[in-house]
Structures are given as C-alpha cells and as structure tokens.
Symmetry: C2
Subunit: 555 residues, 2 copies
C-alpha cells in the first residue's frame, strides 16, 4: 500500500510538490514556488504548504527534482531549512539548485543522478528517465515501490529533433508499460492544445530571419533557463557574424552554469562585454536579455525605459521576443513592447511574427502518446488548473482507463493505492503559503484582507485625548491617506470630527467610561458617515488617550 | 485650415474621443470611457481629459457617435454634464445612450441619424457611413470641412455576410476616395492580425454544434451588445427547440432596446422567464448570460460560484463562452472556467473549441482595403497602443502614403491640416482622468500612490500625548494594519515605541518644542527601523497631542 500526496501543482499551474509514501518512508518529488497573483499585495512568492512533511520529518528520505525551473526547485531553500534531507537531481539541475541554496545558506547533501540512474531509498527505488522540455537535463521520475511503479512525468514534450540530441527516452517509458505501470501522473499544462507541440528546432527559421533582416542591433529576450533556445541564438549569432552580449543577472548566471557543465556550447570570443556594445558596429551585435515576461527590473524593461549598463534602445534596433506571456503577464509585456516601439525599435513578437516561440509542454497528442506508451492502471492528471485536469482525465477515459481508476485531486488530498483501487482517504494541509520574501514571514489572510481594503478605500485615523470625565482635552483629529482628496475633503473631515465629539458627549451623558466601547462607537459612527458621504469605508484606526492624573503645568 | 485633436484612443485601446475643429466650431467624435487597470486602486472608470472642450465650450457644436460600445459612449454622461451639447447617432446607439443619460439625469437633444444621412453644423457637414462591427448600427463618420473631408472609421470590419444583411457601405467609402479624401483616421485594433477577420456568420457552426451536442442545459455567454451574436444564438435556439432565458442586467436591457427598435428579431414565446428555468426539461433550455470577461458580479460568475436568481450550474450543463478575454482579463475568465468545471460543467471556450468567437475589428488586409478604397492624402492611425499605431503607419507607408503625410500622435496632440501638410502644432491636456464612480471625484496621483503603498506595505499610526515640556503623558501607541503579523510583531512595535520615546527625549534635551519637527523625526526614525527590521516601509501617520494647560482632576 502506498500513498501519493500532491502538496502543490493540482488545481493550479505552479509550485509543484508531491509526496510518495511507502511503508518505510516518504520521498518528495519537486519543490517549486509560484509567483503571487495581482491581488496578493506585498506577497513575493507562494509556497506549497509542507506542514505534513515537517510533522513527518523523520520519515522524509529525500527530494527528487525533475528539472530546474522555479516552479519545480524554487521552494527548496525554504523547505530544506525546515526538513534538511538530501536532494537528487541531474547535473544541470544540481548546478541551478546549488547557487540557490548558497544564497540562502542552506547545506544538505546534493546527489547528482543522470538519466537511467537508479537509487534505492528504503523500500523505494527511484529511476530518472530522460524527457524533452524547455530546459536541458529534464527527467521523468519513476518510483518503484513494493505496491508497484509510479511514474511522475514532470514537464515534458516529445520533441523528435531536440537541440541537444537528447530525445525523450521512449524505450524506458514503454518498458514501464510493458512491465506494468501502477500509476501515471502526467503534465496537463497543454492538454487544451490540439495536435503536437512543435520541436524546439522549429524556432530556427524565425531566429534566422530576425538575424538576417535586422538592419542594426538585435535584442533578443527569452527565458534564461531555456538553454536550448539560448544555444540556438548563440549558433545563429555565430552564423551571422554577430557577437553576443548577455544581459540580466539570471542570463549571466544560467549561461555560466550551463557552459561550465557542457550543456551550452560556444566559443568564448562569441561573447561580448556589455560595456563594449556601444563601440561595436550595430549590425555585429546581438544582446540576449532577460525580461521576456515584462518584469519591471529585468534587462529588457530597463533597456526599454531607461538604460541597462549604459545601453538603451534606439531607432534602428530590432527586438525579438522569443517567448509568449504567461497568463496574467499580457499587460506588462504589452507595456514593454509599446515602450520599445516608442523608442523607435522594430519589435517582433508572436502576434506579428509567427514562430518566434514554441512551448515546452506536450499537446493533446503527446499526452495521449504518453498514456499509450506507459499503459498505466491508474491515472492522476497533474500540473493543471481544474479545466486542464478535467480535460486530461477525459482523455485518459477515452483511451480506456476506467473512470474509477482516475483520481482528479486537490492539493492536500491523500491518495491511496493498494494495487487494486485508487482512493482519496484523507486530507493534509494543501493551501498556498504566501511569503513576504524579505523576512520570510507567512502573510496571513487578515493582513491580506487589510491590504486589499487599504488599496481600495485607504485609511482614516482618529485621535482624541480626553480626561477622566471624557471631557475632550485635545482633538479629535482625523488624519487620512488614500481615502479622499476632493475639494471638500476638509469639510467632510470637519463634519466627521463634529460627529466624534457627539459620540463622546453622548457616552459621557450615559456615564460610559470604557474607552474600548467608545472606540467601537466612533468607528461605527464614522463608518456610516463616510459610507454615506463618499461610498468608501476606509480602514479605521482610533486612538483615545485618557489623561486621568493631574498634569503638571509647564515649568 | 482644420485641427484634429485626439483626447482619447491613441496610445491605448479604449476611451475614444476626438475633436475636429474648423474655423467656425468644434465637433466631437465619440466619447468613451476605459476600465481601470489593476494598479488603479479604488478607481471605477477612466475618462478622457476633456478640459480643452470645457474651456472652449462655446465652440462645441455637438457629439457624433460611431456606435454604442462603452469605449465610444461611456464618457457621455460625464462630458455632457460639463458641456451640454446635442448628440447625433444611429437609432440603436441613441437607444443605448438614452438609458445611460437618464440614469445620470442628463438632458441634451438627441438627434437620430441613419447611415447616409448628412447634417450641417456650422461650416462642417457630417455624414454617417454604414460599417460592420460587433454591434449593430455602427457607422464611420465623414466630416466634410472647407479644407477637405476627414473620415473617422470608428471600429469596423469588412464582413461580406453580415447577420443583419447590412454590409459596409463600399460605395460611399470609394466615393470619398474618388472625390479626394483629405484625411483618414482608421481603427488599428487588429493591425497585428494577418489576413481578414472572419465574418460574424462564421460562428454559426460552433453555435450549432454546441446546441446539438449539449446533453442538458446550455449556458452561453457573450457581450450583451453583440446583437448579431445574440441574434444567432436566438435563431439557433429556435432551430434546436430550446427556450432562451436572458440573464444579467445588461443582457436584459440591450436585448429589450434592440428588440423594440427592430434590430433583434424573435418570437416572444422563445423567451423564458429565469424563474421557470428549473421547471423545464434541461435539453429545452438555453441561458444567455452576461459575464464573458469574468466580471465577478455578472450572471455567469454568479452561476459559477453560487446562484443567479435560483439557478446554479450543475453536472450535465454545457457552458459556451462565445467571446475571448480582453487583454488583462485572462485570469478572471480562467477562474470562472475552473469554477464551472469544478461544478461538473463541460465548458467550451476558444482554446478547446475553435470558432466560438470572431472579432469585430478588421485585420491587416481589411485595413489595407480601407486605405485602398478611400485613397487618403493624409493618414492618422487610431484606436491602438503604440505598437498598433506604428504597425498601421507602416502599412500606410507600404501602400504609398508618404511618410510626411502620416501623423502618429498622442492624446492631446493638436494636429493641423491646411490641405498641403499635416503637423502637430500644439498640445492640450490629454492624460487619463481617473474617476471614483461613486462620488464622481477625480482620483489624483497622490491618492493613487498612497493606495499603492498602503496595498504593499500597510499603515502604521503612532500617537503620543505629551505636556508642554515634552514629558510623555500617554503612549506612545503604535497601531498598524496590513503591515506585519508575524510572531514577533509585538516585539517589533515595542521596540518602535522605545525609539519614539528616545526621539522625544532627545528633542526635549535639545529644547525643541515644535511638534511638526518632532513628527518628522519620529517618521524618519520609525521608517529606518521598520525598513531594517521588516524591509517594509508602511505609510506613517503620526499624531502628537500636547496638553499645555493644567488639567482638572476627575471629579
């Protein structure tokens, strides 16, 4: 009997984290983070809730990572601080994790495994299987347990012509099917896309066209981690006689690691220092910059709005956006494109120049092929929002996986497999943990709700000093921010003060002396008044100072 | 000599408003609003800045409206309150404007004009020319001035098979070209889309498929104003023996107006009361609901999350989203789709079922055809962000309009045409006016910046009561909201209070007695301390009460 528990990555795309629990222990598959959505004010990143693993820390044997994207490794430093266990991953992934752990000063054993390597942990045997994806060195993870084998695909596509000549390991996948696969957990990201996802190589013509046609400097932005894309850009630069300036912290870091490990191949003299860019003939330069998602602090954004290390965009420059906006980033990417156009650049992006990007996730036909090759007895669709999971489950049904053998689950569901059935038997915490990255504090729901109300309606602070008889000694003062700034603001606040005095007088007449009760009455009165007058209900802070003792007169 | 002034609609998609000024007066073309973007906290709508027209109110002769979408009519009630002039529009557009003006209690003469009607205003002659768009009764507006003719396309597509059999008036457009067109101002929304935009009729197969295949109830959402789409849905319902329940305020309102005016044709017994829905056999029902953009208060959202007038979504329901998300709405639409899937509905939307929507804006080939038919001497691309305007300008150049005859402008640019040249000669206010819709106040930049900071970092209020010697009588108290809620919040605030006391003591020692100076020192000290300790800098409100007189002791 084994249990499979998603802590992140179902009902959402992002912060992937799964547990496989056998009688002898628990292994963790991936540990990502997600970026906050726009209503998560002051939140820097979102982690899976791994309370279950903290509580069972003595059972956790290690974390196995499928590939080096943030939604698969980004949560590691935070998790490993709480549950320091060994991490197993392929060389490039280890390279990316290392820097991350150093930054956070986290030390755990890092075990390098290549595709087809196996490692035994307790009663489980873990095997890496090579897959194609938009980062090099990605693997699916097969977990051989006493109850049967579980295959976690990670993110994958079937790319028949991968840039690094390292195709998906069809033999190993089909071997699992041949020997009998207990459970397949498969990537649903692109389940709503028909057909096959084009090969990474399909981007070459658009890249070549951009290099051939750019009359002056060429600026290309893509995900730094997309080593295959970076390789293609470097190759094109060499072919077209341009030097490459790398721009942006992660572009420099990732290319360095990938180059050192042999995943990225180029001659050192192909690379140009950023501070030499302005001295080169424009038609001999290509700048490879971070910021394909419109991130305001990334290199492309700084090129577009001011300058990046002395370089800025000018008329005659060509900008190629070799990426598409992740849902939610459309507007910020659009803004950067407009800024670049305003500076006179010719901007090539997917809707004006087809073929500038391909996805790293398999489409419907590839997801079907994965099921057909591995022939699983049980199926869990993963890496998807509800609509993707439902569609993927329907695909599996259409291919003969019985309805009862499919579990569409939520983060925190404890899914139990005894070899004959699949059942959700329990729930553990699975909600998102919102993190203020500066201080590593969880951002609670109350804080978030306050920020949302502050954002909409602002704040009004009322301060009054009274004596023991509730006679007003000073104030009331009402100070606001983000609430009103109309011509009659002062009139509105003056009337508010008058009403506060009324409340105090009434309290005095009734003999109420409890300042807490009085505070509540002031909040209520002002809330009603502000609501009527402005239709806004600011967050209210009321402070009453009551001076009971005789005060010495100023010396 | 004439001037053309965009007050809204260039450098953006939304809040379209243009002026044409001749020696004898000014006419206004369209008067829309835009929806706020996510960083405009507490803003309900965004208006064009029409200060220029308010200042020249005696010259303004009237507003001519191209069609009844909010980004073309939404600003009217606000503008007409300041500059009450007659409005000219086609019958359906007048119908939509009427309700809007009544709600705002605005009374101006409304003049109904049909396509091909002409009206003379001072030295200008204004002519309506029928075009196809995603709302019925849309027109382009030709303004015949002493200097020449200006054509404002409004929003348009060339639909060869329009649902209402009212095609774009090719004769009138080509006649303008034949007689010599001075200036073309043309819709750039879809300039980055290749080819032709499909006819509205192209949606019929997807609609028919949804009707034929839905095993139970069918729920369709689209823009209420898309009369042609609504007509097609009503026709399909009649063909497939389903009754139609109309859901959502604007769906009821727009269909009523369009039906009354003869733009929407259906038998009254096709319509089903919402409260009868639950009593009908599911396969005989179609619900036509607002909310295609994921608006949280619209009918679809309420169906998906709780219920709308007693109806909610259940397993077996089919939902067809006959629209695509406007950029920026992707996430909210995605959320609704997930909620509907969670309730067991089968959801058909563009990425899973092609052909569920077509755009109302012409693509590249139609924009070229517009230039080819009207053969303008001068050209201004409009209705577009920078990238669209630049692309449209390039299209015009590629078709032989000289570079010097094209003006890519910004809101507020005063574009002058003397018949021989086009020049930007001046600027008038053209920025966005952010409106708090509840009270019709402008939301100023300071207010907005405060709200943005409150949203991110929260607020901290410090209150202290001192005597004339700066001896602390009560406090300091620090009250926060949206700032911190970690385990050591109290420790942090206690240390903050201690530092406030230090500041006061130091001021006392120095003999400072100016409370304003003291306030500044407290803000500075706490800002530094909070920044170090939490990396956040909350908005700070400091109130110092100084009790100078002797206080009576409590009786």
């Amino acid at each position: 009997m084994i249990q499979v528990i998603p802590l992140g990555g179902v009902g959402e795309i992002g912060k992937n984290m799964w547990c496989v629990r056998s009688p002898e222990g628990i292994i963790v598959l991936d540990c990502g983070f997600a970026f906050p959505t726009e209503e998560m004010y002051g939140v820097d990143l979102v982690l899976p809730d791994y309370k279950y693993l903290v509580e069972n820390a003595d059972l956790v044997r290690g974390v196995f990572i499928s590939h080096g994207h943030e939604d698969h490794i980004g949560g590691l430093p935070y998790f490993l601080k709480r549950v320091p266990v060994p991490v197993y991953a392929t060389p490039l992934t280890i390279g990316l994790i290392q820097g991350k752990l150093q930054e956070h000063n986290v030390k755990v054993p890092l075990h390098c495994m290549n595709a087809r390597d196996r490692v035994t942990v307790g009663d489980m045997d873990i095997e890496f299987i090579q897959v194609c994806h938009s980062i090099a060195d990605a693997v699916a993870i097969a977990v051989h347990t006493p109850t049967g084998t579980v295959l976690y695909t990670g993110d994958f596509k079937f790319d028949p012509t991968p840039i690094d000549n390292r195709p998906t390991d069809y033999f190993k996948l089909t071997e699992l099917g041949e020997k009998g696969l207990l459970l397949l957990m498969s990537d649903s990201t692109n389940v709503t896309k028909k057909g096959f996802t084009p090969s990474e190589a399909a981007v070459a013509p658009a890249l070549d066209a951009a290099f051939a046609q750019a009359p002056g400097r060429l600026i290309i932005t893509t995900f730094a981690s997309n080593i295959h894309r970076v390789q293609q850009i470097l190759n094109a630069a060499a072919r077209h006689g341009r030097k490459v300036a790398l721009m942006g912290r992660s572009m420099l870091k990732v290319t360095q690691i990938a180059h050192d490990l042999g995943y990225l191949k180029y001659d050192d003299d192909l690379i140009l220092d950023v501070d030499k860019v302005e001295q080169m003939p424009p038609e001999q330069v290509v700048m490879l910059a971070t910021g394909s998602q419109g991130e305001p602090m990334a290199a492309l954004s700084r090129l577009a709005t001011m300058e990046y290390k002395g370089v800025s965009v000018t008329a005659g420059d060509t900008v190629l956006i070799s990426a598409i906006p992740i849902p939610g980033n459309e507007r910020s990417v659009g803004r950067i494109i407009n800024s670049l156009v305003d500076k006179g650049a010719n901007v090539l992006y997917e809707s004006v120049q087809q073929g500038t990007h391909v996805s790293g996730h398999g489409s419907e036909e590839e997801l079907k092929a994965m099921i057909a090759m591995t022939r699983p007895k049980f199926f869990i669709p993963m890496h998807g929002e509800s609509r993707h999971l439902a569609k993927h489950a329907a695909l599996a049904r259409s291919m003969g996986v019985p309805e009862d053998n499919i579990a569409v689950c939520q983060n925190g569901d404890v899914v139990e497999l005894d070899g004959e059935t699949i059942k959700i038997v329990d729930r553990v915490p699975g909600g998102p943990v919102l993190v203020d990255g500066n201080v590593l504090w969880d951002v609670g729901q109350t804080l978030l709700k306050d920020r949302q109300r502050l954002a909409r309606d602002g704040v009004a602070t009322t301060v009054v000093t009274v004596d023991g008889n509730l006679d007003v000694l000073q104030g009331p003062d009402i100070v606001t921010r983000g609430f009103i700034d109309s011509a009659d603001s002062q009139l509105i606040l003056d009337e508010g003060k008058r009403r506060v005095v009324e409340v105090i007088d009434a309290a005095k007449a009734r003999g109420t002396k409890d300042p807490e009760k009085l505070k509540g009455q002031i909040v209520e009165t002002l809330s009603r008044y502000f609501g009527e007058r402005t239709r806004r209900r600011p967050v209210q802070l009321v402070v009453i100072h009551q001076i009971k003792a005789e005060v010495e007169t100023p010396g």
